[in-house]
Assembly symmetry: D2
Homo-oligomer: 331 residues x 4
């Protein structure tokens, strides 16, 4: 529907679809509404109706996430920073928030080195119930404190549908972790929430399933989804996961959504993070998300993959050169 | 702790662990409590204390799910039916509850053919937001109606932590689906609930991760966990997933929990269900869970893998022979 | 072509195919010849010609291996023992032939317990150049000695195209190992040789690729191919490979070739071999191949997965019961 | 051994190792010999002996391929072109040689655009026996003709041990394909041959198995091995294989051998080749190997992944920028 369509015009389109037996579904996005109808609907029937801006078909199982849906590319505003649109976004910070001191040793450094968004886990999904599960709300508060000091907006994970509102009070972007990519009630809830969403790929999800997970968020009212490739499960034991960089051009062809790369969780080992970050830049990703810890050996979560602040600074220098070669910059 | 341990004795054990710096964790099971302490704790310190029934160490990352924890095997009571302990449990029913008629065409037939628990999905996790998502509470009510008619207890999936109480009002066993195996808030919630839990293996979970997921349920107070192998993701396209029957003897060696097999979701094709059911029986599984639909072609969910009631009857005849060969029976 | 077709009749069919531009390929099997033509050839053109017994089309990329090619199932004669046709063949022996004494401690025992074919590696493909590579011809001689004593025909692997003739002097069945499933020159050479072939599935081969590998043997003149599922590579570390038993019913539907299972190499651990053997019998495989060693701890190759002679005897007792349940017997 | 060690000095070292029971293995490389002894040998015993240049231990299962074996990195000379040592080698040409015209339409163009080695398959390993299997010797002759015209040395695959001598008459570098990575007789034969070897990673090989395959070539006398990552088999269907770029830094850490990347065979689709080539450059690979065809739609082999000559030219321009950013150039 056009941005100026009236409620009556929307109702007319819905009626027309119902008359055709095409089970219409109304999606309300911030600036306009959409009507999704059954794949075999007769599009021409709608194209002349009042309030209809455009009729788009989709060759695949996803509609709102499909390339054809939006001629250009989606741009997502995260606390004033733009993701997509030819920019390259560096998100950095610790895997888990552990203390005020730990954050203070990392966030200002990554900010001055060029990171534009802060990452940090307050609610941590851990394979073992005996592992550190995060500081919870206290972790969110500590990140908010760093945001005041550095200006970096916050990206943090939410685990439970009923926590979405709470986390959204602090976070500028809600992260859906790899283990929750098909946690559909959670996807619906962040779909209903106004915050941008960072949707990590499930460790055994195909690209198509990943885009269908994005579709859940989009169809529940939230157009601001950024995808994040973080490695898939394979037989190879030398890295924790196999980072699938091919997924970046594949996603770019199949969808209009921005896609960033998390080289830290894929690798599980710090020495791999820098070269894979440069590769992510060269392959055309819209950004990276990097674990940084000032004392990796004593990290409470995934220390093996964290780079230190000095390593991060050097990485940003190398990254700037590769981005320049692809006519982009850290922004 | 022994079943007769007092609150004071429990407090003493906790104090002793705290004094040793071994971060004690109290687990309250229906018949007795347990204290889990750090892996490097000095077990001898506790063995003589009042109220302590047994001190058990674990060589791996899981404690309560580990083979060593319980010399015998766990037996789970589901609405009066016993899973484990040398029995072979057949759970059967439709993938998704669609209508009263559909249930009525399946449940009485599978009951008379020897199934002892009814399966049926009311809340369905679907890859696409446009697929049928289940009848919700209405689906639970329809299954409860069939339970009254046939006596078969209900196994059904729960998707959201906040729905656990609601689903538990109807269900005799709560199913955690493959996509939720690492949905830790959900595991915690079913851990706090009194109902037995059927924990499906994540499609890309190692056996160790699967047992750690079980550990979440156990440590939150629920000792009644049955594992379910349902196929893992591999490169092979001729079946939807690759059923990993080797996991059955592996689990039996690593854990005391019962393990059943779901050949339907792994296969994705009905003709594979019967031979894989017989294989599951021969390999030593504690049961199977089978999709049955009287009109697979028009099923709203996963019709391709459903066997028809007549096929199910024949399967039960063949199964009885294989079970007899392994000195068991459908019970 | 019919078994009585003349050379002239064959030449006429070839000419007819060439005239149609359908690139004919003549396959000479022991009892008759075949002409394979391009998939889009007009079959009706040939059906009335002299010497033509039958015209068969194929829906997939394989022709001679396809189910449709042969209405019944292929039966393979290995040194007088029949594989397929409802029998269940047990092949047993050491992974690698190490010495006369080692063979003598295993082969007579497995023979008296019911194994009908002897396995043993003389030429071993090893991941490391520093591992034991087999005794070579001396290993073949030692197996031939055991054949004289026990009557068990020999199944052994060949690695190089130029060794096929040499190995075939001793072996009753030539094994193509998993690492050579797509060693096409080797497949061609065993295709030209008169000996039956045991074709192991490549550790990352799809069922379709496996049947195409069989097609290489068939099209080069050898109709006697037995397939062997031996585990595929997945992310799961608790077994060396994931035994894909679903492949058995899948192959039975797609092809007329017999298929057996090697539970030893898949497992990598002896305790898994017995339950997976029973599962292989229940799922409908035509046999199994099992590593047996009288002193697994000192085996020169893959000792961890070998069962001992007493374990093998017990396994055969359990196996007989499961086979009886599926109306078969060890033959 | 030092480059000036005498036969007697070598014999003394061998005797010393035999006396220690450390099963010595003599490796004769072009410029000097090596003695590989059992991992638990007492290295100090050898370090003072005449003719001994250096004693090196290895923490892993490979010795000659291990990082520790050679403090710097191996540099391989292919027909006068150097691979490794900070250079970036572009190998380009058709997947399969089809005709003089086809080669003439590709090789001069890629040469003028900056490719320094020519690729082309004369002996093709094909999944189906009915697919084009290559022109054989005629294909080698056509490539030799293009070498005379353009100066580009030839990289081409060899399939059979007995063909190594023949192919080496024409080829400057012998390629071992992914399906032959564990064809050990073939590895031994190229190990005995003087030509440099391009060793593709098996599609389901771990990095460690890949290095052990290289060890086969090294230990049979050939120090000139270049590794090639070409994608591994995973569950993801949107590309033919998943290009594992993480393997590049992993190999660099574990070994001194150069490693290049083949983005064409991994992708299976041409649009992915350019971004993955840039990623390979950024991640630190020593080169790439790219399929180029002037008429991809009519290619006899893998046309879907071939880039056209104009696309290749553009790719080389973009590649030069990324290489400059990593302080390298196409050489």
């Amino acid at each position: 529907m056009s941005t100026t369509a009236t409620g009556g015009e929307l109702a007319d389109v819905v009626s027309c679809a119902e008359a055709g037996g095409w089970s219409p579904r109304v999606v309300r996005w911030p600036r306009h509404s959409l009507v999704v109808v059954a794949p075999h609907a007769d599009g021409a029937r709608f194209s002349g109706m009042a309030g209809v801006a455009r009729v788009v078909g989709s060759p695949g199982p996803h509609f709102l996430a499909a390339r054809d849906f939006r001629p250009g590319s989606t741009v997502v505003d995260v606390g004033g920073h733009v993701v997509g649109a030819g920019t390259f976004t560096v998100i950095a910070g610790p895997c888990a928030v552990e203390s005020r001191e730990q954050l203070a040793a990392v966030v200002p450094v990554v900010a001055s080195a060029g990171a534009v968004l802060m990452r940090g886990g307050a609610f941590k999904p851990r394979s073992s119930p005996y592992s550190f599960q995060g500081l919870g709300v206290e972790g969110l508060r500590l990140m908010a404190e760093q945001r005041r000091l550095t200006g970096l907006p916050i990206v943090t994970e939410v685990l439970r549908p009923e926590d979405v509102g709470l986390v959204a009070e602090y976070a500028d972007m809600l992260q859906i972790g790899t283990r929750n990519m098909q946690n559909f009630p959670l996807l619906q809830e962040v779909g209903r929430c106004g915050r941008p969403v960072l949707l990590k790929r499930g460790m055994s999800a195909t690209v198509q399933e990943w885009l269908l997970a994005a579709e859940y968020v989009l169809v529940h009212g939230n157009p601001n989804v950024v995808l994040c490739e973080r490695g898939i499960r394979t037989f190879e034991p030398s890295s924790r996961f196999t980072l699938d960089l091919t997924a970046v051009p594949v996603v770019k062809r199949m969808s209009h959504l921005p896609v960033i790369v998390d080289p830290s969780h894929a690798a599980g080992q710090a020495y791999v993070v820098a070269p894979m970050t440069l590769a992510a830049a060269a392959v055309g990703a819209d950004g990276v998300m990097i674990d940084v810890h000032s004392d990796p050996e004593n990290a409470l979560c995934d220390g093996g993959q964290a780079v230190t602040p000095p390593e991060f600074k050097q990485l940003m220098v190398d990254l700037a050169r590769v981005l320049a070669a692809t006519r982009r910059a850290v922004t």
